[in-house]
Every structure is written in structure tokens, then in C-alpha cells.
């Protein structure tokens, strides 16, 4: 459906489109400006395809100078700008505006330098996540954050969302692996944030920029930290008769002194779906499985593997499989990695949530999700970055059945409220975007939201960058608060959260 921006978030301007295209043509080649309706259509949504909006215009610059010129022009004419990488984001952060410019960074796709001796890579924002590791592999290095969309998603988008991935448990999120950014501000100024050293002078703007969802500046160059490739990897698969036991095993592993490279959990519904889809060899009668990957120096991995195996036995794992060779490991991982499409095979549609909770709340929250699932009459399968408490409940629904999408959204929002109440957060790694913007009103007070707006103003005083995303206006919250407490359960036509 077409997304409707909240009135308080709309940036109005009276600029004539054809006239603005003529201005743009002075700084960009004609083929870098897209204005035909049919050519604009592919840009109408990102990975959150439930909402669409055909953009006013799309531009495809291929240099920092062009981006600066575009931003200057937009700023001078009060035209809002939305940045877009590969469009794989799951929260609608790159959803376009009907009166705004969509700035695609797809053509800035070159790896500029790999500095093997300092273990850094300097890349343009449109470089795909996986290609950084591919290109640095010859130096025995890799780029650690590995979101599951890594073959398609770009590093610029990763910075915007502070992307995680399976291996961030040991190696950190994007924020822990970025050293330097070049950004272009809404006013068209080029600013360097961070540096090639491990820290930099002044306020830590890298922390603020990372995960800022394109609200503060356009990321035009990224220097990332590279990590030496481990010389040994071992993957352990353990089955459990209850989620409770699996959760206790996770807590024990995390407190043991061994930091796994990845620690993932799947519930029975996900196990069955994945097994049916890719035949990874999962025990389909298990209530939960854990996948625990250990990597590093070979002598350390051998020792750690032994310790993890004894913890798993202590917590009554019904089956433990150890995979040392990469072929076997890939087979086991294939089920986890294909969990989303596997759910897609058994359900016409699914809606992926991203709440994060303190790990000790896991069984309580899963029980609540089960109750909500029964209440709404929609099945929920759970995959879970267990080591860091990041849940991905997948709500199964059929958009062709009248009312099911709305029920799925309502169930999703109730799950997010459970996450907040358990001491967690509405989003661990997918971002707020438009998807969870109303839930922000529940997680933060008005004065906290006001502080976010003030921070945005420090970078973008006129609020022209990605309006209507990530941080709700207080007007929206006032409206949402009224809806949420009195009517939300019955008014299914109201905006989702």
C-alpha cells in the first residue's frame, strides 16, 4: 500500500519538477537523472515491501563532487533527500518521498584501498558488504560484520543501520568496525568523521552517525577495520527438549569465558520449515537447536570446543554434532541462513520482527509470543541471535485473506511492547525506519525524543534528510499515544507500528 507520511513530518516545497531537473542537469549527466514514471517505479520501496511510494526524482551520482552539488541544490530549494544503498533494509528507511529526491549511492561501488599492514579498507558506500571480505581475503583478512543480506547489502547501508549479523557476537557490530567516514551534509559540505587511528579528537561522531538511518548526513566513503582470518573454525549443533534448557545453556556458554563467533537458536517451527526447505540434517522433533561456532587459533579452538561440549551435556542437550570441515559446517548453517525463505515456503507471507531482550527473559517472552500467536490466530516461528538476545519472530500470514495483514501488524506491535516491558528494545539491528516509528513513542519519553531532534538539528537544521523516519515527531506521538491506549486493538485501519 502507499505509505502516508504523517502531516507533521512533511517537508513542503513548491519547486517545479521539470525546472529542478534542468538545474540538476547542470551538475549531473542526463543519464544520472531518472524522472520517467516507469523508471522510478523500481525505487518505490526497500526490503519492507508492504509500503510503497514512487519518488519524485531519482539521482545516481558517481562522485563525491556530484553529491555535494546535488545536496547544495536540494538545500537551496528546500527539497528533502532520501539516501538509498542496495534497498535491502527491512524497516523502510529508504522509502522515498513523493516530493523528494532519492539519492542512490549504487554507482559509488569501488574499493579504494586495502591497507593490509594497518588492516583497514577504504571503500565507497555502494560497495557490497561481502565483496570487502572477498577482496581482502588475499591478505588473510576479512570484514567481520555479516548481515544475512551481505551478498547484496552495501556498506553505506550497513553504516546507516548499524548492521549486525551472526558473527557480531564476537567481532562487534558495524559501530565497532568503522574507523572513518566521509559524509556530505545537507548543506553540501564534505566532513571527515573519525580517522585512520583507533580513536579521534572531539565528540565521538562515529557513534552518532552509525545507525542514524540517513538522518544526519550522506555517507560517501567508509574506512573499515579488517580482522585476521581465523585459521580454525568449528561448528557445534545441539538439540534440546525445551527452549528453557537451550536458554540456560546459552547463559552458561556466555558466562564461561569462551566467546563464540556465533550462537544461534531456532525453535521447532523454524527447525521444521528449514529442514523441509534445505535438508540441513536438523532433528525435527527437537524443541530448540543451538548452533555454536568457535573460531581462532587452532589450539585455542580445540580447547574451547571441548569446554562448550561439556556445557551442552551439562544442560542436557539431547544430541550434539560437531562439524570440523567447512562442507559440513556450510550444510548446518544453510538451514539457519535459509530460515526466512523456508518460512516463505510454508506460508504465503511472513512479517519479520527484530526485538531484543535481556537473555534471561527469553522463555517469558517466548511464552508471551505464544499466547499472542494464539490470541490473533497466526502462527509465529522464532529464530534468534541467542548470544546477544536479538529475537526474530516471523509472523505467518496470508495477505490475500482480508484482515490478516492488519492482524499480523497488530501481533507484531504487541510483541514489540513485550520486548520493551522485558527491559529490551524494539529493534536490535533492522532499524526503526517507518516500520517502528510509532513504537519509538512507547520506548522513549517526549523529552528524550526532543533530544534526538536537537541532535538531528546539529547536523541538518532544516530537517530535510530522510524526514518521517527513525525519530517520530511529538505530534505523531501524541496521536499515537491516544490511539494506542484506547483504540488500537479495534481500529485496524490505523497506521502500523
Amino acid at each position: 500500500m502507499t505509505y502516508r507520511l504523517h502531516e507533521s513530518e512533511r517537508k513542503s516545497h513548491a519547486v517545479n519538477r521539470s525546472e529542478f531537473i534542468r538545474h540538476l542537469a547542470q551538475v549531473l549527466p542526463a543519464e544520472s537523472i531518472i524522472s520517467q514514471q516507469e523508471a522510478l517505479k523500481p525505487y518505490e520501496c526497500d526490503g519492507l515491501s508492504a509500503y510503497q511510494q514512487v519518488p519524485w526524482l531519482v539521482v545516481l551520482p558517481d562522485s563525491i563532487e556530484q553529491i555535494q552539488s546535488i545536496m547544495e541544490l536540494c538545500y537551496a530549494n528546500n527539497i528533502p533527500v532520501v539516501a538509498r544503498g542496495a534497498g535491502t533494509g527491512l524497516s523502510g528507511g529508504a522509502l522515498p518521498l513523493e516530493n523528494g529526491v532519492l539519492l542512490s549511492l549504487a554507482r559509488l561501488n569501488r574499493i579504494l584501498e586495502i591497507d593490509a599492514v594497518n588492516r583497514t579498507a577504504c571503500v565507497q558506500p555502494g560497495v557490497r558488504n561481502a565483496s570487502i571480505s572477498q577482496q581482502s581475503s588475499r591478505y588473510g583478512l576479512f570484514y567481520a560484520p555479516d548481515p544475512s543480506s551481505q551478498i547484496a547489502c552495501t556498506i553505506g547501508g550497513n553504516v546507516a543501520e548499524n548492521s549486525g549479523g551472526v558473527h557480531c557476537l564476537k567481532y562487534g557490530l558495524t559501530v565497532h568496525n568503522v574507523l572513518k567516514l566521509k559524509i556530505v551534509t545537507m548543506q553540501g559540505q564534505l566532513v571527515i568523521i573519525g580517522g585512520n587511528a583507533l580513536d579521534s579528537a572531539g565528540f565521538d561522531l562515529l557513534a552518532v552517525m552509525t545507525g542514524s538511518e540517513g538522518m544526519l548526513g550522506i555517507v560517501v566513503e567508509v574506512t573499515v577495520k579488517l580482522t585476521p582470518k581465523p585459521d580454525s573454525v568449528c561448528l557445534i549443533q545441539a538439540a534440546f527438549d525445551s527452549i528453557q534448557q537451550a536458554s540456560e545453556a546459552v547463559a552458561a556458554i556466555m558466562a564461561s569465558g569462551v566467546t563464540p563467533a556465533g550462537l544461534e537458536m531456532m525453535d521447532n517451527a523454524s527447525i521444521r520449515a528449514a529442514e523441509q526447505f534445505v535438508h540441513a540434517g536438523y532433528p525435527v522433533d527437537a524443541e530448540a537447536i543451538l548452533l555454536c561456532e568457535l573460531d581462532g587459533h587452532s589450539s585455542a579452538v580445540v580447547e574451547e570446543t571441548g569446554r562448550i561440549q561439556s556445557i551442552l551435556k551439562q544442560f542436557k542437550a539431547s544430541q550434539v554434532v560437531k562439524a570440523d570441515d567447512s562442507e559440513q559446517q556450510q550444510k548446518i548453517w544453510s538451514g539457519r541462513k535459509a530460515a526466512f525463505p523456508a518460512i516463505g515456503q510454508i506460508s504465503p507471507d511472513y512479517y519479520c520482527m527484530d526485538g531484543t531482550i535481556p537473555r534471561h527473559q527469553l522463555s517469558t517472552v517466548l511464552e508471551q509470543i505464544q499466547q499472542l500467536s494464539e490470541h490473533y490466530g497466526l502462527a509465529v516461528a522464532n529464530v534468534f541471535h541467542a548470544g546477544d538476545g536479538n529475537l526474530h519472530p516471523l509472523i505467518l500470514y496470508d495477505a490475500n485473506q482480508s484482515g490478516e495483514l492488519e492482524r499480523a501488524e497488530q501481533l507484531g506491535s504487541d510483541i514489540l511492547m513485550c520486548c520493551i516491558e522485558s527491559g529490551g528494545t524494539i529493534t536490535g539491528e533492522h532499524g526503526v525506519g517507518v516500520e517502528k516509528i510509532n513504537a519509538m513513542c512507547a520506548q522513549f519519553s517526549d523529552s528524550e525524543i526532543q533530544q534526538f531532534h536537537r541532535v538531528k538539528s546539529a547536523f541538518d537544521p532544516d530537517g530535510l534528510l530522510n524526514p518521517g523516519k527513525a525519530i517520530p515527531t511529538l505530534n505523531r506521538c501524541a496521536e499515537f499515544g491516544a490511539m494506542h491506549s484506547h483504540q488500537a486493538r479495534t481500529h485496524t485501519e490505523l497506521e502500523r507500528f
Binding site: A207, V208, A300, T425, E429, F452
Partner: protein, 352 residues
């Protein structure tokens, strides 16, 4: 051991109403660090105490005035620790003070900086509002990351009331070895070692000997050390305390001390004085009489930044000067939190 947040909120509201400038003081252990404090001194150390600690969650929530030593004692009981090895220049060091200066110890290149361990915080801003950002989970992308912004802010953005920090289990075993390496060889030697997947947790060069610390199981680290070579250091914990808390011989000197942060494999820098390398070369201490403008120029040109850490003759230019566009954003960011410029004015830069 008390929650003084409402008292501090009133105090800050008064300061805002009367335009009074405030100099926040925690343990006072780093009063010498940064530009000259201004404004009325407010002791915030009494707002202390551990609020919540669940060892299996690997998270501790504490009030800002809690002493590092108290936190470490509690973590010790569960065989856990602060992963960034906080530099404590005396026993009174508080957690808010450590976060405000944003300094991390020898583990930094291997297990992360102080900012990497901050999961959430509660502050009072310059509108006298109590605000919470982040939380207690490892992953959280709701709203801008304003908790990590506190690290290194020198108390200029708000009073830190509480913070939630990620903690890590103590490695099963740690030991340190040293090898003699010539100054012109040490950068290459460190770069070679750091290119491998080895569980290092410290790498320090005193100008003659390269010290490396390994963490993990006993057998594993001994086996690795055998392949690298060198002699094992006795009393190695004392050694790293010396490096981190500046009781090591190198730091016993009245010559101005510079903290220089550069890409690790940067060749020896052409500044006069005596160097020591921490962080596998990425952090360089320099005892030198060089003039500040010269140090800032040379280090800025190689993509790093310098801080006049201690014993400067004057405290005007302490931190690396920033380019104008970047300074403009920083100034506006300060204004976003503290529009009247009341919190620790001038402590970081003269501009705010």
C-alpha cells in the same frame, strides 16, 4: 551509595536559571587532564552504587560516581571484568570519570574501547531533564546512539547519572612474554604478529623490549608463545597495571607527556623525545619538549591525533585542533545538549 538524581536535577535547574557554569568532579583523578576546568565545582562522586548486575547477562548497571575499584571487586567475584582495562590514575577513579575522558587501556585493540562497552546511560542535560538512552541489551538501534557519545565528551554534554556496561568473562589464563627488538624493526614485527589470528590481549614496546600478552587456555597460549618466542615475564599483572595506570617507569618523568593515536603501522614519527608504544603501535606515548603546534601538525598529517596528556606548560591547546566544518557540527551538538554552555565549559575546546 545513594541515588542523588533528583538533587542533581534541582541543582542543575538552579544553574540553568542563574546561568551558572558547572565543573563536574568525580574522583578527581584526572583533574590534570584536558583544558583548565572553569565554573563552580560540583562533587558528583556521592551518586554511587551498583544498581543491577546479572553475571549471566554480562551487563552491569551502576551510578556514575561508583568507583572503578568497587565495580572490579564485584566483577571479580564472578570472574568477570571490564573489557577495556580502564586506566585509573588513583584509587578514587569513578566510572563516569573514565567514560568522560574516554581513555582505554592496553586491551583496547583486541577487545574494544570504553565506548564499545557502553550499552545505555541516564543523563541530565542542559535543560535539567533526566534522559535515558540505549539500554542493557548488546544490540539496540532505536534512536541515535547518544550513550556512546558520552565517551570522551569530558562531561560537556550532561551529567552522567547511570550507565549500563557490557562486561566480559575473565580469560581462563593470561601470560606475558617479551622479546628484544630494535626500534627500526619493531613496527614490522608488530604488524606481522597482528596480521595473524592470535589471542593477543596486549602489545607494548618500551623502546627496547616488545611485551605481548596472550589470553586463553593454558596449553593453547603456551603453545602459541613457543611459536612466537621470547621470555616469559614474571609478575605480568603488575607490569600491565604499570602501563595502564602510569606507574610504569616510563611515566615517572616531569617532561610533557603526549598521547598520540595513529594507524598502528605508522613508521617512527619524526618528533624529538622518548617514545613508548602501546596498542601494537596504534597508541604512542611521547615525552617531549616539542611545541604543541608542531606535534599537532606532524600527527595530523599522518592521519592521527595528539593530546597533551600531562605536564604541559599551559593548558590551552590540549586536544588536536579540528577542521572548521567538523568543529561547527561539534559546537552545534554541544548546543543541542547544553544550550547555555554551562557544563564543563572550555574543558574540551575553547569554542564550547
Amino acid at each position: 551509595m545513594a541515588d542523588l538524581s533528583t538533587q542533581f536535577q534541582e541543582l542543575i535547574r538552579d544553574a540553568v536559571d542563574t546561568d551558572s557554569r558547572i565543573n563536574f568532579i568525580g574522583g578527581g583523578s584526572k583533574a590534570f587532564y584536558g583544558r583548565e576546568p572553569q565554573g563552580e565545582s560540583i562533587d558528583v562522586a556521592a551518586n554511587s552504587g551498583i544498581i543491577d548486575y546479572l553475571p549471566t547477562e554480562l551487563v552491569i548497571t551502576v551510578r556514575g560516581g561508583t568507583q572503578i575499584s568497587e565495580i572490579q571487586t564485584v566483577l571479580d567475584e564472578h570472574n568477570q571484568m571490564l573489557g577495556f582495562e580502564p586506566p585509573c590514575l588513583n584509587e578514587q577513579s569513578t566510572i563516569a570519570g573514565v567514560i568522560a575522558v574516554g581513555l582505554s587501556g592496553s586491551r583496547r585493540p583486541f577487545s574494544g574501547a570504553v565506548r564499545d562497552y557502553i550499552l545505555g546511560c541516564k543523563i541530565i542535560n542542559g535543560y535539567a531533564e533526566i534522559l535515558s538512552f540505549g539500554g542493557t541489551t548488546m544490540k539496540n538501534v532505536a534512536g541515535y546512539d547518544l550513550s556512546r557519545l558520552m565517551a570522551g565528551s569530558m562531561g560537556t554534554l550532561g551529567l552522567m547519572l547511570e550507565m549500563s556496561l557490557k562486561v566480559i568473562p575473565r580469560p581462563e589464563q593470561e601470560a606475558t612474554w617479551f622479546i628484544e627488538v630494535a626500534t627500526d624493526q619493531v613496527i614490522a614485527t608488530m604488524a606481522d604478529l597482528l596480521a595473524k589470528s592470535i589471542p593477543f590481549s596486549g602489545m607494548f614496546y618500551d623502546g627496547r623490549r616488545l611485551f605481548y600478552r596472550l589470553s586463553g587456555a593454558d596449553d593453547a597460549i603456551n603453545q602459541i608463545a613457543e611459536s612466537i618466542g621470547g621470555e616469559q615475564l614474571v609478575d605480568h599483572e603488575l607490569f600491565w597495571e604499570g602501563v595502564n595506570h602510569h606507574t610504569h617507569d616510563y611515566f615517572q618523568d616531569e617532561t610533557p607527556l603526549w598521547r598520540i593515536s595513529v594507524p598502528p603501522a605508522t613508521q617512527p614519527v619524526s618528533l624529538a623525545g622518548q617514545f613508548a608504544y602501546d596498542w601494537g603501535g596504534a597508541l604512542r606515548w611521547l615525552k617531549s619538549e616539542e611545541v604543541d603546534s608542531q606535534v599537532f601538525q606532524v600527527i595530523g598529517d599522518i592521519g592521527g591525533h595528539a593530546t597533551l596528556f600531562r605536564h604541559g606548560q599551559h593548558r590551552d591547546a590540549v586536544f588536536q585542533p579540528l577542521p572548521e566544518h567538523l568543529m561547527q557540527i561539534q559546537r552545534r551538538l554541544k548546543h543541542a545538549f547544553d544550550p547555555k554552555g554551562l557544563f564543563n565549559p572550555g574543558r574540551l575546546y575553547p569554542e564550547f
